[in-house]
């Protein structure tokens, strides 16, 4: 029905076959055997197999090997015409040769380039480090291969005192990050330590020495461990977004409460029809990135919608919160948080850490600290008994299987002081839930 309505009501593309060939690259993948497969929308003219085409951005020429439509699977054809959307394979070896937003034209008929896309802006950053520095090259290859097909992930090298050399990757959202991590594990067999998802905060430095060091008064803090102390900063800034929420008016109250809790400031509220309200809120980005959307949906039984666009940075009362496991600070968990949320966030994370860390043979204390002040704590009880004392009639196969599995799991555990922690404990911990 929807497809039919689209066919009936949406006007056809305005394009002419008689114009010179002009197409927009809106996506590209890498195929092991064929090279780069670019998805294109043809805005003018036509293109055939064998034609020589040029990609505007790099100015390189390629010959079309194969092209066709997507139905949704590839359906090869002899040509693509103005108004059609399909794919093209032209011997390109690198996705960078077929940039999203790039314009295609025939070799002897250059055209004005189409206004391209704005590159997707990374909204959530997370550090990714190999479990062990010996695995660094393998992880590097895995990240390279994954980002081949996902050009929306931004990659930056980073390093940490605790974890060694790694990367800070930027994702479009938390789900994007989770999927990426899962793919790293499953498809590339990489075991990764993922650190706190953060947003790019800024700090206005007040120390002349630091300003000189960084080359500018305002710096962007992408790694929470690099958060400069209050003493050298005149102002912290956080990225803001202008969020648009559309909801049936029965949920307005609950949504306003949720938004207020997330430090949202209402900018606008209008009725767009009898029953639906559109609200515009200015939110700090970090309040949105983790689970705002999930909460909004469950509050409104799925009826509310949410969209946002970047707004400017604003001053914020930010502090750095550390987490300690039996007194050992855990760098990956360092969280930058607004002062108003510090206690709740600290307590919640301690509770989640408690659930994620298996019991040990001794008591484990999990603490949240601001500076030297402990603001929250949870305790994980020691095992008093952990031995199979049941009558098992001679078959130890099941027990051996379990023990071997635990031994394998042990190899993947991280040691924080004396405490053994599963490496994905932190990624679970870092999701905030109201």
């Amino acid at each position: 029905m929807v497809l039919q309505a689209i066919v009936d009501r949406i006007p056809p593309p305005v394009a002419s076959i008689d114009d010179p060939f002009k197409a927009l690259v809106f996506d590209s993948n890498f195929d092991h055997y064929r090279g780069v497969v670019a998805n294109i929308a043809v805005f003018g003219g036509q293109v055939k197999k064998g034609n020589k085409i040029v990609l505007a951005h790099l100015g390189k020429t390629f010959e079309v090997n194969e092209l066709g439509l997507l139905r949704p699977h590839e359906h090869p054809t002899q040509k693509l015409c103005a108004g059609q959307v399909g794919y093209i394979v032209a011997g390109m070896k690198d996705v960078k040769e077929a940039q999203i937003g790039d314009t295609l034209y025939l070799q002897d008929q250059p055209v004005e380039t189409l206004p391209g896309f704005k590159p997707a802006k990374a909204m959530v950053f997370a550090g990714m480090y190999p479990m062990d520095q010996t695995e660094y090259p393998a992880l590097r290859n895995a990240i390279e291969r994954l980002t081949l097909n996902d050009s929306s992930v931004t990659v930056q090298r980073d390093s940490s005192v605790a974890l060694g050399a790694g990367w800070r990757l930027g994702f479009l959202g938390l789900l994007h990050m989770e999927v990426f991590n899962q793919r790293l594990e499953q498809e590339h067999n990489a075991s990764v330590i993922v650190t706190a998802p953060t947003v790019p905060y800024k700090a206005v430095l007040s120390s002349p020495k630091l300003i000189k060091e960084h080359g500018s008064e305002v710096i962007t803090i992408v790694n929470p461990a690099q958060f400069p102390e209050k003493s050298v900063v005149s102002e912290y800034l956080e990225p803001m977004v202008l969020g648009t929420i559309i909801t049936p008016d029965t949920y307005t109250g609950k949504i306003m409460t949720l938004s207020l809790k997330r430090r949202g400031i209402q900018k606008n509220m209008v009725y767009i029809d009898e029953q639906r309200v559109m609200m515009k809120y200015l939110f700090p980005l970090n309040e949105i990135v983790v689970d705002f959307y999930d909460n909004l949906k469950s509050l409104s039984s799925g009826y509310a919608s949410f969209d946002y666009e970047n707004a400017d940075y604003q001053a914020a009362d930010l502090i750095k919160m550390n987490f300690l496991i039996n007194g050992e600070p855990v760098e990956e968990l360092i969280t930058i948080v607004h002062r108003d949320h510090a206690y709740n966030t600290g307590k919640a994370m301690c509770e989640r850490l408690k659930e994620s860390i298996p019991r040990q043979m001794f008591e484990v204390a999990v603490q949240a600290a601001i500076g030297s002040k402990i603001i929250a704590r949870e305790t994980i009880k020691a095992y008093k008994k952990n031995v199979l004392a049941k009558c098992y009639g001679g078959d130890i196969t099941r027990k051996m299987k379990l023990l071997r599995r635990q031994a394998e799991g042990k190899k993947k555990l991280r040691r924080i002081g004396c405490v053994e922690v599963p490496k994905d404990a932190f990624i679970n911990v870092l999701k905030r839930k109201d």
Binding site: Y383, K385, G394, I396, L403, Q406, A407
Partner: protein, 454 residues
Amino acid sequence: MIGHTLHAGRRALYPGLRYFSETPCGEIIEDVLERTDYPRVTKQASLYVHWPYCLRRCSYCNFNKYIPKDNNDHVMTECLQRETETLLQLSQVSCITSVFFGGGTPSLAHPSTIAAVLETVSRRAYLSDKAEVTLEVNPTPAGKTKLEDFCRAGVNRFSIGVQSLKDEDLKILGRDHSPHQALQTVDEARRLCPGRVSVDVMFGRPNQSVESWENELSELLTVCDDHVSLYQLTLERGTQLFKQVRGGEVTMPAEDVTAEMYQCARRTLQQHGFLQYEVSNFARQNAVSHHNRSYWKGGQYIGVGPGAHGRFVPLGEGGVLREARTQTLEPDVWIREVQQRGHATRRRIQLSHLELLEEVLVMGMRMTQGINPKHWESFSPHLGLHEVFGTSSDVQELIRSGQLILDDRGLRCSWDGLALLDSMLPALLVELQRQMSQRDDRADGRTKRSSDPQ
């Protein structure tokens, strides 16, 4: 793992046997190790015989047991004999060191069944008069009257499933006897086999408190013989008790409570002169279970009967690796298979040298005496106990915190450590795996990595 198995198969890696090892270049080297116990290990075994029938199913039990529809005793007996014979031949053991009749309810079998099986054993292997022959007994009056006949049939040790001395608890457990009947059965057993009666008790039962458990134990200690097995009631999926707990009809004691029950039982038994020799087993006057102890010491065992488990080298087929074997579970199917081909082995898995050592480690550490260097050496002549565990930082840490002891007597848990054994075993396994793989690398030199699928 696969790499190891291939290696072991190719190199006939078990020590002690005279073997020819082929280097990757194809040379043949004769290798003889004399100063080990391994030849003895494969020449003897203990025998486990499973009688699968019960009159009722206890609410917590997930063992391989069946309520018989017809009387299959005669055919079952014949098949037990047949399978015993076949497997004895297959294992080529010359000596059976002990026999254990378990189940099900072996005390439901006719004493002549016991006699028949023992006789079959004696025909095929050496079974000393002094060898321990244990029968599990369900302490109903019917069971009690048969004890004397069992003795005459060759049983010289009884293991009595008392479980609890509280009537209400016995009902929740689905048992078909009263505490009084159980005590009477113990009495009779002690009369017939003094000093050779074991009592099974369960802790961590629904509605149990540490106090009531302590009282119960005290009562038990006034009447029991010289061996006690303490088992923790464990909820198993598919049992009636599991469903009842999940449905909220029955509540189990909290984890801390059962931990305390275990510890106080250990202390109480110790105070009454019992020596704890294994996680769940306590003995006075050295009345240990030889059969079970040979399991924990990594000895071979042959499992006969539906669902029985075995661990032995099928020398009769030219085998060189120990196999983990399971017999067909369902009695009717088992009977058919035994009739057709002499035995009903449903599954056989070869254990690589590493896997064998892993089992020796896990089982051995359950004993309070742990693993002594000589015992380890009989399974691992090329890699000594101290070599494996002496340099591990994890082990050092456990020693430092008082859970493990490693000295010239070997590797064992401390009193506290034993209760936390399963927390320590993964670390020990990791260390063993690491040392074995390093040793393989050294032994193989350059060719290992290129051929190993890992």
